[in-house]
């Protein structure tokens, strides 16, 4: 990081200089123990298991890795996961921007504080319960079952239920990422645009949106990453029908159950790799926002 690189030039004996205004100090011999503990913990908990998975996935060679991922079941699982994540991200982005805008700007929004608290609930609810909620709602005696029946939509053990479950568990990200930015940029510029004759849409597209862009991008990536990785909620509502309602995570679940380690590890590795791509993109957005 640039700030670290230029923070300290040269070793000075006194504590003041060693921990200059924004600077980080080189650990003294005794303090390496502390740094060592932090590193050893991270390596044993995070990095060694990841390396072990990579080794396990490639243990039968690169060829076997790709073969395991190109079976029809694997491909349909990957496709379904992608579609679900895309759908949930789209819904949560559109409604998330609207909700965040109202929660920050609309002072007369009915029940503003209550609604604001409610937005965090999906993070506090266990994913299994998120799936179970839909079983209760759309099951035989569920409140919304008549509605679904009237509309002719099969919700449970089908795509719509999985989409609702995925949308639920990834709901707060976009709202929570853009709310602070909306607060920061303030209303002045939006009001200036209104004064200049812009309509609400125009003001939103050319003033508000550029102001919240980095948060929006970050929130969208978080939503997508969370949606791709969901297992508990979709496991409960999908019925895991091979080739039909089996997502990538459910594919791993079944592969492990059937002791098909090669396929399970390969799919797990693919998901781990995709989350690294997303993580890198997120880090890039963060740096770009900070350098502004």
């Amino acid at each position: 990081m640039a700030e670290t690189a230029r923070s300290l030039d040269g070793e000075v004996a006194s504590g003041i200089a060693e921990t200059g205004a924004e600077g980080r100090a080189r650990p003294r011999p005794g303090e390496w123990v502390v740094v060592g503990i932090a590193l050893a913990y991270a390596i044993l908990l995070l990095f060694a298991p990841l390396a072990a998975l990579a080794r396990g996935a490639l243990s039968r060679g690169v060829r076997a890795f790709f073969d395991a991922l190109s079976t029809p079941d694997a491909l349909s699982a990957i496709k379904l996961t992608f579609l679900l994540a895309l759908g949930a991200t789209a819904i949560n982005t559109v409604f998330g921007v609207a909700a965040a805008w109202l929660l920050v700007r609309d002072r007369r929004f009915p029940g503003r504080r209550f609604v604001n608290g409610m937005v965090d609930l999906p993070f506090a609810v266990s994913p299994v319960i998120a799936g179970f909620m839909l079983i209760v709602l759309f099951g035989r005696t569920g409140w919304l079952a008549p509605l679904a029946r009237a509309a002719g939509v099969k919700v449970l053990f089908a795509f719509p239920g999985m989409l609702i479950a995925t949308t639920f568990i990834s709901l707060p990200f976009v709202i929570r990422e853009i709310m602070p930015l909306l607060g920061e940029i303030g209303e002045e510029e939006e009001n200036a645009a209104y004064t200049l004759g812009a309509g609400r849409w125009r003001a939103f597209w050319s003033v508000t949106l550029p102001g919240i862009r980095s948060g929006l991008e970050y929130g969208v990536l978080l939503t997508f990453a969370r949606a791709v990785g969901e297992v508990g909620a979709v496991l409960v509502v999908s019925g895991s029908i091979v080739g039909l309602t089996e997502t990538a995570t459910l594919f791993i679940f079944r592969a492990l159950d059937e002791r098909n380690a090669v396929a399970g590890y390969a799919m797990a590795m693919l998901l781990a790799l995709s989350s690294f791509v997303l993580l890198t993109a997120m880090e890039w957005i963060r740096r770009r926002a900070r350098s502004r």
Partner: protein
Amino acid sequence: MSAARPRRAEPLRRPWGLWGLRGAVLTYLALMIAVPLLAVIERGFSAGLRAFWRELANPIAFDALKLTVAAAAITAAVNLVLGTLTAYVLARYRFPGRGVFDSLVDMPFAIPTLVTGVMLVVLYGPSGALGSWFHAKGISIIFARPGIVLALLFVTYPFVIRSVQPVLLEAERYEEEAAFTLGANRWTNFRRIVLPAILPAAGSGALLSFARALGEFGSIVVVAGNIPRRTLTSPVYVFGEVEAHNERGASAMSVVLLALSFGLLLLLDWRQRRRAEVLGG
């Protein structure tokens, strides 16, 4: 002041647009969050309070709940200590690989929890590279309780670090510098000046990791072995009851878990509000 106020006529000129937006957002949040939650709570109590308690008094359910709370508490405690330590190391020290380490802290949030479980089984399982070593010593990690805590530590790794780090980075360094000038060593400085400043943030991070740990499913279902009364946690219990078509049992446990996490959410909100008041003077 008679300065021309920016025109705020737009919301009034087309009030239907605003009400449409409000209606859409409220419908979205109600349908996605409020209605499903109420449905589960209603189902939990639908057969009366006594039936609710009977479901929970079932030894398998009760032991699952005890195990879940205990594992979450251990996780929160370990995170409080090691997360604070890691945040301090990242914020105050310079060492090779610090930047990479810092950006990889969020990795557990990006990696699917089921993949976390698989990773831990590959390394710490009975035939894994490290697991076989423990196995030879008679210690089992995977398919046993230590594996549950290990998985929870993985998925909650960033919470305390990411709560504490900004406080450390934004802290005025005068006090720390004054302490150094007065001859305090780094440990005294940490204990007397840094720790009191970051403790509230560390506490919030630990509470968040506790709440997250209560509901964890994807990683635990792989590593725990899910043996009733030994390694079966509450979320996995809910899953089992749903599969067994025992909706009453599943909803009773769900209500307890929901109550616990809502309580924690309220506690966190209250702490944040109180701190904002204190800081605001």
